[in-house]
Symmetry: C2
Subunit: 392 residues, 2 copies
């Protein structure tokens, strides 16, 4: 996959900087996107507009030459790295090695991401490299617009996601309910952990890895970032939020459903209905030229009309709609563009989730999340999973 | 788990700095260790010696108060973060919010890790916070010495690891060999990916998550960082390197075995035997007071005596013993202390792997890796898995 780096080219030209530089391991998605190389330890990438050069350890050299997008790969040993570290210590040695590498590339000024390590930045500045910070996240902005190939990767991850959601729903649906309302599977309480395991095994069988999965019941579900733990209970909301990463392509998908095993309360049913309408309102606003802020405002409008608090109506509220409407999905599960109060213009190729939700520890949590790609004339919602609350 | 932060206290006192500060998400192990809090997005932690304070988004506030080790948790909204961002933009707004938070803590000077983001560091410096870089990785150094509770977590992850290795070995052992030497499982070629899946499902069933697993055959196995792909072949080395993370505790284990289905060549057998002796030589050198450099030298001595290249005998070699002898294991799978040419003094409570290996694309790769804890009078190797090369 060859990324479109024209935004980087323009930025280098506008700012009169010699190179865009990243120091990070392959788990940093900007590094992975720019270098095309995944290594477990940090390595250094310099993009000058004309060429892409990597500086890696000897251990990564062979693989970097084979797998990366770089025009040139250098080894630390070529710059007497170990001798420098011996003489000046790790930090100063690393900065001197890196400065020598940049000098060979005729790079005297470097633009770096906000999260570039301050230790190396200070070290390079001490070696007369002019290091300035790109506050606009140019690589992240480039990553946000997906090629057809990238969209296909997200869609494959989403198919795996749907299989995993099906496994989770089936497990909850098939559970018995004991006298005190706890769900039971076989002879044991059905726990969040057990459902998470089923989801994760299903994802592995479908070629996906994953970091975390949310299966949160009752008061846990009222905290959007609580992953959930312990026995699930009947007649309470269970939020299932799954965001797998396809192993081969490393692209993510993301989907949430809310289930009640048994009977939902009136208020939960109302919140589910309003949230489903909030999802529709967001999609109605989703099109190229609209902003992430527009889409978020459509959701806030509806929730506030229906009498629920939002962070717009009360920035300190801990109940109601207390997160943003959605986010980009790609190499990171959360990336640009943001569908939030500061969200900018939406473009064809943006892959985003729409995930309105309402939270209250006294009621539980309700969230519905679909994933879609912005197209030339609107969007394509490629989520293929029913939106249903109550499971018999 | 309450970490021992006395090294941080001394460092703050010695350097006359007001606080040690980290800005990172919970996937940064230093952040997780210092704050006791795991969140998916970056948050800010300040440790003054007397108190630990967090600055988090409203979304994380409830969970941070419940789950973190902090004496005080502040929300971005308390510092008018959104108004600042509105007025000054994301980067400058974030720096102003953070500077106001530090001012409330009477912190005018901050020590930060090398990988602290340069964007925020520059922003704080612009708000008259004196930001200096801790080149000694004080939190990583504190993390390296494990409590009994932490060692128990690693041991539980290692038990899961052994179950996964057993599943992998059984799959390879049970495979048929077709006419051209490819391993066959059922009706299909037995691939690296299939064995990885079996390992990963086994780990999930044992409460562990994982990032990657190495199952590398033949020439792939000759590259220590190659994860392996495609069909496995008889009479070639297969390196299986598994490094799971226990989900609950977040501590890792790490173990490697090398298998040959069928018959190994004379040279592979010799390399396996020498590597087993290198493992023993390393363990003979492993004790408190010795250095990581001593342990690494013992392995280099043996390999060089037996006629193999090492990075010590030739820093640019791409064959022979081309990595370090081992590394600490804990919240990160690679952490301090290093068993390498620059490895410092070993202390009781250090959990380390010993992983000598020999690599040559023409021969394949051989690596054996055990995991152990340094004790008051030596070490305890808590790896419980046979070291055998050939599988019938």
């Amino acid at each position: 996959m060859d990324p479109d780096l024209s935004t980087l080219d323009s930025l280098l030209a506008e700012t009169g900087t010699d190179a865009y530089c990243i120091d990070a391991a392959g788990d940093d998605s900007n590094q992975l996107y720019l270098s095309g190389f995944d290594a477990p330890d940090p390595f250094f990438t310099a993009y000058t507009g004309e060429s892409l050069a990597l500086l890696v350890s000897g251990l990564e050299y062979g693989r970097a030459r084979k797998e990366s997008r770089a025009d040139a790969v250098a080894r630390l040993a070529e710059y007497d790295h170990h001798e420098r570290v011996e003489e000046y210590g790790e930090a100063e040695g690393a900065a001197r090695t890196c400065a020598a590498f940049l000098a060979d590339l005729d790079v005297a000024s470097a633009l770096v991401p906000e999260r570039f390590p301050v230790g190396l930045a200070d070290g390079l500045r001490g070696r007369d490299v002019d290091v300035s910070v790109d506050h606009g996240d140019a690589v992240g902005t480039a990553r946000a617009v997906k090629t057809d190939e990238e969209v296909e990767s997200v869609k494959r991850a989403q198919r795996a996601n749907e299989a995993a959601m099906r496994a989770a729903e089936d497990l909850i649906r098939a559970a018995d309910v004991d006298a005190d309302g706890t769900l039971v599977h076989g002879d044991e309480p059905l726990t969040s952990e057990r459902v998470q395991e089923e989801i994760e095994v299903t994802l592995l069988r479908h070629g996906c890895a994953l970091d975390e999965t949310i299966v949160a019941c009752g008061a846990d579900a009222a905290d959007p970032h609580d992953r959930g733990s312990g026995p699930l209970r009947a007649n309470e909301t269970v939020i299932v939020d799954v965001f797998p990463r396809e192993k081969v392509s490393k692209y993510h998908a993301d989907m949430t459903r809310t289930f009640v095993k048994g009977e939902a309360s009136e208020e939960v049913r109302r919140r589910f209905d309003v949230t489903r309408r909030a999802l529709e309102a967001a999609f109605d606003a989703l099109e190229p030229g609209a902003t992430g802020a527009d889409v978020h405002a459509a959701v806030c409008d509806l929730y506030e009309e229906e009498g629920y608090e939002t962070l717009r109506s009360d920035p300190t509220t801990e109940t109601g709609f207390i997160h943003s409407t959605g986010h980009g999905v790609g190499l990171d599960v959360h990336e640009a563009p943001g569908l939030n109060p500061r969200g900018g213009e939406l473009k064809p190729g943006h892959v985003v989730t729409i995930e309105p939700g309402l939270y209250d520890p006294a009621v539980g949590g309700v969230r519905i999340e679909d994933i879609a790609v912005v197209t030339e004339d609107g969007y394509e919602n490629f989520t293929d999973y029913p939106v249903e609350l109550e499971l018999e």
